[in-house]
């Protein structure tokens, strides 16, 4: 990495020399190392997986990305040929394609004015997961595989994935920024399918992920959580009953609150979707028709975004356009308060970026992305939420889910879900309760958010853009309560 920094500087010099006139020039030198070890049904697997988690399960990647704004047109060129000739070619390509594109545009692209930084940042950790030996990784995974040597009431298909990676960046601009970043990540992903003859099955996928180092992952003592998940899948198959009909109240657990904060709030608040830039890819947003100040939900609803949360999977301190990260208040007291912005979208709103530009590798453009999205804590204890529910369910986790490309019509099918009757959570498991609801319908049904001590986080890879960029994020929240909802 260090040895190529001069080459990045060379690229930036070229972008500004020989009569070139860039409105904005940035060069990002980036290295990504990815090691994935998995056990599939007890058999060790090193390599690409039959489930899509990463493009390359075991990879060594270094390259340079040159992104230039010329005459209001944007061009980007990348190369992993780290020599002057290839870099020169990349700069020429980016410049000429940007200039040619500008001729087609009616409205020139601009970048928002931002403070520049000369700094370096990294996530805090004690043990870099990339430095953990294969033996130790095997030992870690083996504890979960061994659970299946015991007797269980149903059969299981089980996959345990340990994904370790490291991203190092050197970001420079013609405005003067020089920012080095360093983030190792680790994710433990158990995928469990409980199967009973006759076609009944239940599948779950969890993601315990952090930038806080190998020691942080170990500190979570996940064996008990996995055992609990294995048991509950069997219990659902063996005993779950049909969900109640008619209007009921629903308490959503932190897992479900987290995915909702991401899908129904984070995505539609992305400014590039609102402006139409993802129109043919991840889609647009129902908020395109509304302005800041629009009432999305009840006053108790607060959904925030924060890349600076220590240990979080979406952690960063400066985004991939060199803007200093901060917390974003997307929905505050039920009101559409803030969008996620990069410099290009912020310029269109004549405001400043709130540091949401992220790229996953040198060969990807920085786009408006989430980091860690969550329902903010409220005032309710779990007991207070339950006590006045006559008939309802507690949906602790989810299985199938989807949402339309305007982020308006969503569906969450519950997995671990219990019947609530007369102010008590019963032991009766409810089979696949389907919450099929619009975003305003959902946020307008929430009347309570749990206290801070009930907040939990899940790791995830957020898919967006073309070519696709699976961006590491956390989603989370406390328990939340929905009133008067009908299951689908």
């Amino acid at each position: 990495m260090e040895s190529y920094k001069d080459l990045a500087e060379f690229a930036l010099e070229l972008a500004q020399g020989n009569g070139k006139n860039c409105d904005y020039a940035e060069v990002r030198l980036e290295t990504n190392h990815i090691d994935t070890v998995a056990f599939i049904n007890g058999k060790m697997h090193i390599g690409n997986l039959p489930i899509e988690l990463t493009t390359d399960a075991f990879a060594r990647k270094t390259g340079i990305n040159v992104r230039l704004l010329v005459n209001g047109g944007m061009g980007m060129a990348t190369t992993n040929q780290l020599n002057k000739k290839a870099v020169q070619e990349a700069v020429e390509l980016a410049y000429h394609t940007a200039y040619r594109s500008s001729k087609q545009r009616k409205v020139p692209i601009r970048m928002s004015e931002e403070k520049t930084y000369i700094t370096s940042w990294q996530s805090k950790y004690k043990i870099n997961p990339m430095e953990i030996s294969l033996e130790e990784k095997i030992e870690y995974l083996q504890q979960f595989v061994d659970i299946f040597k015991e007797r269980h009431p149903v059969e299981y298909i089980h996959i345990f994935v340990l994904l370790t990676e490291q991203r190092d960046t050197y970001f420079i601009t013609n405005e003067g920024s020089r920012i080095s970043g360093h983030v190792p990540r680790v994710a433990f992903i158990p995928i469990l399918i409980a199967v009973r003859s006759g076609g009944q099955n239940e599948q779950s996928m969890s993601n315990y992920a952090t930038t806080g180092g190998w020691d942080k992952l170990i500190s979570w003592n996940l064996e008990n959580q996995v055992r609990k998940k294995i048991k509950i899948l069997a219990d659902i198959i063996l005993s779950a009953k049909k969900p109640p009909e008619g209007e009921i109240d629903i308490i959503l657990g932190p897992d479900v609150a987290g995915i909702i904060s991401h899908e129904n709030c984070g995505h539609p608040h992305e400014a590039d979707r609102i402006l139409g830039r993802e129109g043919a890819q991840a889609g647009e947003s129902y908020l395109r028709e509304h302005k800041l100040g629009f009432k999305i939900g009840n006053e108790c609803v607060n959904v925030f975004e924060d890349p600076t949360i220590p240990d979080s999977y979406g952690f960063y301190l400066y985004d991939d356009e060199g803007v200093k990260a901060r917390r974003r208040e997307l929905i505050k007291n039920g009101i559409f308060t803030e969008m996620l912005q990069n410099r290009e979208t912020a310029a269109q709103f004549n405001i400043q970026s709130n540091a949401a530009a992220r790229a996953i590798a040198y060969d990807r453009e920085p786009l408006v992305r989430m980091a860690n999205t969550f329902f903010a804590p409220g005032d309710y204890s779990f007991e207070e939420m339950v006590e006045d529910i006559k008939l309802g369910i507690l949906m602790s986790s989810f299985t199938e889910w989807n949402i339309d490309d305007k982020r308006l019509q969503s569906k969450y099918v519950g997995q671990e879900a219990y019947l609530i009757q007369n102010g008590q959570v019963t032991n009766t498991l409810v089979l696949k309760p389907a919450l099929e609801i619009s975003s305003p319908g959902l946020f307008g049904s929430i009347d309570a958010q749990g206290k801070e001590n009930t907040i939990e986080w899940q790791g995830a890879f957020c898919g967006k853009s073309e070519p696709g960029q699976g961006c590491p994020v956390w989603t989370g929240g406390p328990f939340i309560r929905l009133r008067n909802v009908r299951l689908g």
Binding site: I51, A59, G75, L82, E89, T97, Q104, L275, R277, G441
Partner: protein, 459 residues
């Protein structure tokens, strides 16, 4: 385009090979030189013009059946050497991979004529004309009634160089054109999407028609109302097949996935009926002008046309040398550990789209696109839901009236979808779409499917 040449790759291969031969019993090196371009546009303007120049090594390493794959695009000699030293250590302590037996034994004969049908010099020289094509498609869409368009145009060349420990080697190059356009009306919920893809500029690649189709659909979708939930027949566009029909052939018929129990055909064997007899499906690795065709697979086994589903009955799961049973040959779909689909090709029927609308005798929806297909479980029956994304229409009066509807969600499973396919269109279209459940190229016709449960939000 780029001046990257094979010489840039040769040195990296040489260094890698020297290291690998010291500790691997079986190995394969795949060198890739990729020059790719993308024009992304939205609001009828170009947002960014991207260019990628990449040289990459994809390595398969095996030491006494302990295996690993690695992708390397950092080709600094020191990095290659140190990474392969780490790989050697990994393989020393890795466990036996019982899914790997051997690499294919040659020698093989390859169809050299395929090269001309997957590589087009005109694509290499496209350069600035690519922007003209985007402008042409945009204008054609706007002429049909779109107010604005968004989309993406990928075009480029990839060269592949393979050699392995069985003494086999080969190379080929392939061009790609992949254009997608989405049209929006004033009413932002009225949208239409269409695409065109090929390896050759002059073979079934027509961006103007794609623009027109997207524009027409979005105009017809204006004023759509929330549809009524219930059971419908559906007629799906070829693009929708990549989500609803093709995954059975491209995902569940993968021998590796089947062996791991990770798909909805678990328990099904050759001879089992899984689809309507009108449906036959091939994995066709040698189809002309198809984006995933190649003369050979990752083991250098010649690519083939393999019949997967024969008139509704399972004929063959696609595989590689290790997963082929004793009595079988490889279907030429390596991935050395995990087989890969090439081009999934459906059979055709006798009907035009208009005729399909005419013969459907129950309430019928015309679905032009869908996305975000999610499963409750990979294990059978693998219940799924999928969201129609662009124009969706309730067909009335045998197709003479198309009434736009919205906010309906498909709820089904792949068995139902295949078994209840009543009729097929009479033409195939090559489709390769963004973030599709089928990650490969699909050739599909329009399809009429009966008895699909459509649901909608309750609040």
């Amino acid at each position: 385009m780029s001046n990257i040449t094979i010489e840039n790759l040769t040195e990296a291969v040489k260094i890698a090979k020297k290291s690998i031969q010291k500790f691997c019993s079986d190995w394969s090196i795949k060198g890739i030189i990729k020059v790719e371009n993308q024009i992304r546009f939205s609001e009828s303007q170009i947002d960014i013009n991207k260019n990628w120049n990449e040289i990459k090594l994809e390595l398969f390493l095996s030491q006494k059946r302990r295996t690993m794959d690695i992708s390397m695009s950092d080709l600094n000699p020191k990095v290659i050497e140190s990474t392969l030293k780490s790989c050697e250590k990994l393989l020393n302590i890795a466990k036996l991979n019982t899914n790997y037996k051997r690499l294919a034994e040659g020698p093989f004969k390859y169809d050299t004529s395929l090269q001309n049908h997957i590589y087009d010099e005109k694509v290499v020289k496209l350069n600035e004309k690519a922007i003209d094509l985007v402008e042409d498609a945009t204008e054609s869409s706007l002429r049909q009634g779109a107010k604005r368009v968004a989309g993406s145009f990928f075009y480029g060349t990839t060269q592949f160089f393979l050699e392995n420990s069985m003494g086999l080697e080969g190379n080929y190059k392939r061009t790609n054109l992949n254009f997608r356009i989405r049209a929006f009306a004033e009413d932002m919920y009225a949208t239409g999407e269409a695409l065109s893809c090929s390896t050759h500029l002059d073979k079934d690649f027509d961006v103007v028609s794609a623009g027109e189709e997207a524009g027409k659909i979005c105009k017809q979708a204006i004023g759509g109302k929330k549809g009524d939930p219930g059971i419908y027949n559906i007629i799906i566009f070829p693009k929708v097949c990549t989500e609803l029909q093709a995954p059975t052939a491209s995902v569940a018929m993968n021998s590796y996935v089947q062996k791991m129990g990770l798909a909805w055909l678990v328990g099904k064997r050759k001879g089992d009926k899984i689809a309507n007899e009108k449906i036959s499906v091939w994995d066709d690795g040698i189809k002309k002008y198809a984006l995933n065709s190649s003369p050979f697979d990752d083991e250098l086994v010649p690519s083939k046309r393999t019949l997967l589903i024969d008139h509704g009955i399972i004929n063959q799961f696609f595989n590689n040398s290790s997963l082929a049973k004793k009595s079988e040959e490889s279907t030429g779909n390596a991935g050395i550990i995990m087989p890969k689909p090439t081009n999934t090709v459906f059979s055709i029927g006798d009907y035009t789209l208009e005729e399909l609308m005419e013969i459907s005798d129950k309430p019928t929806l015309l679905i032009t696109s869908t996305w975000y297909t999610r499963y409750q479980s990979y294990a059978p029956p693998a219940m799924l839901s999928s969201l129609p994304k662009d124009g969706m229409f309730l067909i009335e009066n045998k197709g003479k009236i198309l009434k736009p509807v919205r906010e309906l969600r498909i709820n089904s499973d792949h068995y139902h979808l295949l078994k209840h396919t009543l009729a097929l269109g009479n033409k195939l279209k090559q489709v390769s779409t963004w973030l599709s459940t089928s990650d490969n190229t699909v050739f599909a016709p329009y399809m009429l499917i009966e008895g699909i449960r459509m649901t909608t939000g309750t609040k």
